[in-house]
């Protein structure tokens, strides 16, 4: 066996030579090392359990019991469902894929045939071509080895000065290059590059993703390109911005996700449709590539996988975020003689909320004397003013709800019920003042849809404030907020607990308010 001299490497070289090992690699080690490493891992786990986890479990007996009873059961289910897997009808899936491909082509054509979008994309691609042409090597500075250079001159400082001269115009140069047995390499390369680019541009948008990326052409998959199209070329108003939580200091960018595109009318809809079919196609390809020889898919979950202790997808394919289209879901088939059963807990959040809060209003819906047909979201919705009128029109009476009225409301006003659900679960930090454009400081619960609220950096529209639970608050610049709320200061985004209120950036006023002018006049008189 070769003897390695690891000390010869510096830190960077060592990092380049080593890469993370997966379980398969460890298992390939010689038996001595394999057993040593296995024993060591187990010993570390034992120490971790005994010295770190057990003292914590002793303090939290309720959690210890929950873990032993509930968590282990969930883990067992997870392991078994991974082993058993679920059968996928590949033939059906393939048919659905072909339909989707056709649909995607139509959607793509619709995007590129849209007059405004086409103009924007054409100008983008033309700019790329212009940039390429600008990089054209200038003939007069070319070094042409086979031609006569001017004699070498020596400057006063003793440095060599070479001056290359052009003997040809560009056209002559091209002709010369065509006939010259020894062409000028740099220029030929440039001409080839331009020709290649123009050939590809003629085929656009029927190019592969790799080609589009290579030639820097407009990509409908690139968020930055879409950002340019929507906000620079088509001048769409910026309503939602992206906040990078991993890099709070990074400048905010306008959002190009579905929620932002929803407000862009026809153009946004074209992109949303195309994105949803693209996403579904990606899911299909990913799923099919993970099937075993019997067309069984073995779902994997990380348990727990989130900060809140919920499951998350694992193994490169998440079963929790599947496209909810009939064509895709219908490919999941039960084993012969069996049925697939769909289980969903009814109104989990409000039931838990009722249990914890013992709120009288909630108890009227979920309490012991509540009507079995009461629906919390319809109850809340029907008590709202204009917004609740459709529910009342359907016959929903929150004091005496009927089965028929509930069914009618759910069927005819599904979206409205969804909005009320968001409103209800999103409770409001009542009474807190926020800066609203043209209204000044008003309680957050009075903020209406469409109002412009100061977020610390800019005025943004909002669909309403959302309750994130009950927490202690601190006063920051006379605004009550949680200690971890982020505020913008002149040294960047900071959590309110750590931020200096004096450094906080205040909203820009669009003009003088009468109150300000009156205050100023009074002050002047006081001074005089």
């Amino acid at each position: 066996m070769a003897v390695f001299n690891w000390d010869a490497l510096n830190a960077e070289e060592l990092k380049a030579a080593l890469s993370a090992a997966d379980p398969g690699q460890i298992a390939g080690l010689d038996t001595d090392y394999l057993l040593e490493y296995a024993a060591e891992d187990t010993d570390i786990t034992w120490n971790f359990y005994q010295h770190i986890l057990v003292p914590a479990l002793d303090k939290f007996k309720a959690y210890a019991d929950y873990h032993k009873e509930q968590m282990v059961s969930a883990i067992t289910h997870n392991a078994i469902q991974q082993l058993l897997g679920i059968w996928i009808d590949v033939t059906y899936m393939e048919q659905h894929r072909e339909k989707l491909l056709l649909l995607q082509e139509e959607q793509m054509a619709a995007i590129f045939n849209h007059k405004e979008i086409k103009a924007g994309i054409d100008s983008f691609n033309q700019a790329v071509l212009d940039n390429l042409l600008k990089s054209e090597p200038e003939v007069k500075y070319h070094k042409i080895p086979d031609r006569k250079p001017e004699p070498v001159k020596f400057t006063k400082e003793g440095q060599v000065s070479r001056k290359w001269k052009a003997w040809y115009t560009l056209e002559e140069e091209v002709e010369r290059l065509t006939n010259d047995p020894v062409p000028l390499p740099r220029y030929v390369k440039f001409l080839e590059k331009v020709k290649d680019f123009k050939d590809k541009l003629a085929l656009y948008p029927n190019l592969t993703d790799a080609e589009i990326k290579y030639y820097n052409l407009f990509s409908v998959k690139s968020p930055d390109d879409k950002r340019w199209l929507f906000y620079d070329a088509l001048r769409m108003p910026v309503k939602v911005t992206v906040f990078n939580k991993h890099n709070p200091d990074a400048p905010k960018k306008p959002s190009v996700d579905e929620s932002a595109m929803l407000g862009m009318g026809e153009i946004g809809k074209l992109f949303i449709d195309w994105q949803s079919s693209t996403k579904e196609l990606q899911f299909i390809e990913s799923l099919v590539s993970r099937l075993d020889g019997d067309d069984i898919f073995h779902p994997q979950f990380k348990i727990p996988g989130t900060y809140t202790g919920r499951l998350s997808g694992n193994g490169g394919f998440s079963m929790q975020i599947l496209p909810k289209t009939a064509g895709f879901l219908e490919a999941f088939r039960p084993a012969p003689g069996h049925k697939l059963v769909d289980i969903d807990v009814s109104a989990l959040e409000p039931v838990v909320l009722t249990e914890l809060s013992r709120d009288a209003g909630l108890l009227s819906v979920y309490g012991p004397n509540a009507s079995p047909y009461a629906d919390i979201y319809l109850t809340v919705g029907s008590r709202l003013g204009n917004m609740g009128q459709p529910f009342r029109d359907c016959g929903y009476d929150y004091l005496n709800p009927t089965k028929e009225a509930v069914a009618k409301c759910k069927k005819e006003h599904k979206n409205l019920r969804g909005i009320v659900k968001k409103l209800h679960l999103s409770c409001i930090a009542e009474g807190e003042l926020v800066q609203v454009r043209r209204h000044g400081l008003i309680p957050i619960d009075k903020v209406m849809c469409g109002m412009l609220v100061w977020d610390g950096q800019e005025w943004v529209t909002t669909d309403g404030a959302i309750l994130k639970g009950v927490k202690d608050i601190i006063q920051f610049n006379n605004i009550g907020m949680t200690p971890d709320h982020e505020v913008l200061t002149n040294v960047g985004w900071e959590i309110s607990e750590r931020a200096n209120p004096l450094q906080c950036i205040k909203p820009k006023q669009s003009g003088y308010r009468w109150a300000d002018v009156w205050g100023l006049v009074c002050n002047i008189f006081r001074v005089l």
Partner: protein, 239 residues
Amino acid sequence: MNCKHSQDNHSNQVQVPYAILRPSPNVKLRTKEYKKYPTLPLHLVQSVLYKATVNSTTPIIIDLETTSALAHNKKDAVAAVSLASSHSVVSINVKDNHKLWLAILNYLYTKSVPLIAHNTSFDMAWMLRDFNPNALYYHEFKLFNFVGCTYAMYRHLATEGFRGQQWSLDYAQKTLLQIESNKIERNKKLVEQGLIKKRISNDILLKLLGSEEEVSKYQQSVTERESEDTEDEDTPEED
């Protein structure tokens, strides 16, 4: 083996803001007490496991080394199993010895040994797969007496969410047990045995091995090992 205790190098340890979990800097690994069994006759399995697990004041920690991360992949198998109790650590080679592995599983099942693993979901899936090859429904699986998962506990009891927070055993080792990780040493060993799939550049290999002859020899051995692996994959399974 390669672990050094943090007391030698305390200043280099990562300090992390855990709210519930408290670091324990005085932990020592039982490096000299590891009992390793490269081969273990079947008739000794019971007595070895009995000694390893009986009278333990804690549940038994189990860890498997496997040929891949996918338990549902029938071509892959368990290569080694290790058990740690309050008084000993045992490590058994089960590579190419399915009967021995089944005997171990049988012991753990019949004696209902209380087990814990770091990411129990992973280890349990391998154990259930090999112990219940014909099970088609949940109720047909003969279950082991798992009583917890250190990964799940770690995840639930450390939800701070600070930047760079991890829940791997390696991270717990560094931040909470404050024992230096030997991951680099392990990776070096994997390179030496030609197991790391990422190709190492010739310049680095030359520095490591000193001569071009040695480099070509090493590369040849890696290629041979890879071709052996490919042949194994191509071989049809015997049912």
